[in-house]
Amino acid sequence: MKNKLVKKEIIHPDNIYSPSIDKVGVEERVARFQSRSIKNESKLQGLKIALNMIDLTTLEGKDTPGKVKQMCYKALHLHDVHPNLPSVAAVCVYPSMVRIAKNEVKGTGVKVASVSTAFPSGQAPLDVKIRDTQFALDEGADEIDMVISRGKFLSGEYNFVFDEIAKIKETCGKARLKVILETGELATLDNVRKASDIAIYAGADFIKTSTGKIQPAATMQVTYTMLMAVKDYYDKTGIMIGMKPAGGISTSKLALHNLVMVKEILGNAWLTNEWFRFGASSLANDILMQIMKMETGVYQSSDYFSID
């Protein structure tokens, strides 16, 4: 896409203007996205789009090569009973698992995303974060999911956060960078908006809500606020930024509500896994069960779907 070639303008973080957020207004607007009724053909289409946007994720201390291989297999064989299903967008793993994942999905179009920068806390010095990122890239990661330093952000050290993101972006080179704001720790929607703007101006290709380790994670309110930041930036510069809600989206219904929101705020251009992703592990099965329900007419059981 030509948008990618546009050189971003460097703006000093002090000069980024983040509007304050009307929480009540956000809640009302979000409630309206949730009242849409999506049925039949459009529901099936929506489910398939959502399935294709999933970053199938395993980020646990107990992850083993076997677990990662199993997940990669699932990414490529979502439900073999049903032909013509799209695959997921990517698998998302820890840096130490990148090579294993990469080998499994090689040549399939499914990307490997790696979390980095001392995920999930981000409590490490910059040089460690850079090495962490470099390691993931050397192992073959196509995408990097970094976390911001929430402690620094909350103490008002916006320049620090900005510089850190810019440095990691520099390390990433051509790999796409997703910046995790961990909105569950940012306390207010004003902070979410501020952090979104900092991330976008510092070089993020994607902004992402959460690590999945903290509740609340990707609420509709938070995703809405971040989408508005993406929209404002696009209106101003013509550059597209991707969005990835992660954590807490485990049902098809919620995924469809998110798609409605994306379409109405940003438009059809964002309705592809190039610009919108779901970070999830159990969502895939729920969508598969919904698709099978629509095609067979009977409600499904998780007994007949692969284990997450």
Partner: protein, 293 residues
């Protein structure tokens, strides 16, 4: 001053909550004089789906609970029934029973609850077995609950049929979704309140009101239901349920008993919704005096 009576809103019971039907619909069954009994939720297939999700969620912890504790909880249901006896009697009379029959039905319901409460920590000992085999194995069979059970309560009673058919299912560690009697639904809703105030965890029993005709189909085709217990007497409906159950090989049981009889209760109603797990455990000696068991 005359007082305006506050009428009860009859709601359904899903996952330990009392929602109205998702569809917003209702029906008004009539008593013998043609007067409406109340506005009853006309549940939809989505309510059935939600109830099954709730039952599946509750299954793990209910089936793993200590048998003795399940017995305590069932006994607690009997205690709560006893405390609300008058209300059940009044509802039965409202639905066409005589006072004497109503009293008998409620008393029997309480006794039957105690009966199954007692079985909770005993059926396993009675029904499991150690099996003789011709190899070096200790071979034994134990019962495990089937899973989520769909229950279509008997149509001709309001309380005793429901209680008789549902208790053996949960006694054995299953969770269930019950469709109440279509024309006599009052006691089913009140019974849900009894369950809610005893220690039965939310989701173990879910009770819906509505028409069997509409709900049978969803319940019997649902892939996450492992067995159906049918208490009605419509053979056409039963045939349909059996055909639908082929989809995921559900077990189907049909009972037609006079539930008001004192002996319409037995151990084998518990074992119907149990699966048998047989284990071959390697040992050194086949048997005889040197055997360790």
């Amino acid at each position: 001053m005359s007082r305006l009576e506050i009428l009860k809103t009859y709601k359904i019971y899903i996952g330990g909550q009392f929602p109205r039907t998702e569809s917003g619909r209702f029906y008004s069954p009539l008593d013998k004089k043609g007067k409406p009994l109340g506005n009853i939720c006309l549940s939809s297939r989505k309510d059935v789906r939600n109830a099954i999700v709730a039952a599946r969620k509750a299954f793990g912890s209910w089936s793993e609970r200590a048998a003795f504790n399940r017995g305590q909880i069932l006994y607690r249901i009997a205690e709560m029934l006893e405390g609300r006896k008058e209300q059940f009697i009044a509802e039965l009379i409202q639905q066409g029973s005589t006072k004497k029959n109503a009293e008998e039905e409620v008393n029997l319901s309480i006794e039957r609850t105690v009966y199954y409460a007692g079985w909770c920590d005993k059926y396993q000992q009675v029904l499991s077995s150690v099996n003789p085999v011709a190899s070096s194995h200790f071979n034994f069979s134990v019962l495990e609950p089937t899973g989520v059970v769909g229950i279509l309560a008997p149509q001709n009673t309001s309380l005793i049929g429901l209680v008789s058919i549902m208790l053996p299912v949960i006694c054995g560690g299953n969770t269930c979704v019950v469709i109440a009697s279509e024309n006599l639904p009052l006691c089913a809703v009140t019974f849900a309140e009894v369950l809610n105030s005893s220690d039965v965890p939310g989701g173990v029993v879910n009770i819906l009101t509505g028409t069997n005709k509409e709900l049978n189909e969803t319940l019997s085709t649902h892939m996450d239901v492992n067995a159906i217990v049918y208490g009605g007497d419509d053979l056409e409906a039963l045939k349909q349920i059996q055909e639908n159950s082929v989809l995921n090989v559900k077990r189907v049981f049909s009972y037609s008993k006079d539930w008001n009889k004192a002996d319409s209760q037995d151990l084998y109603m518990i074992s119907d919704t149990q699966e048998i797990k047989t284990t071959w455990h390697p040992i050194e000696n086949i048997g005889g005096s040197s055997s360790s068991y």
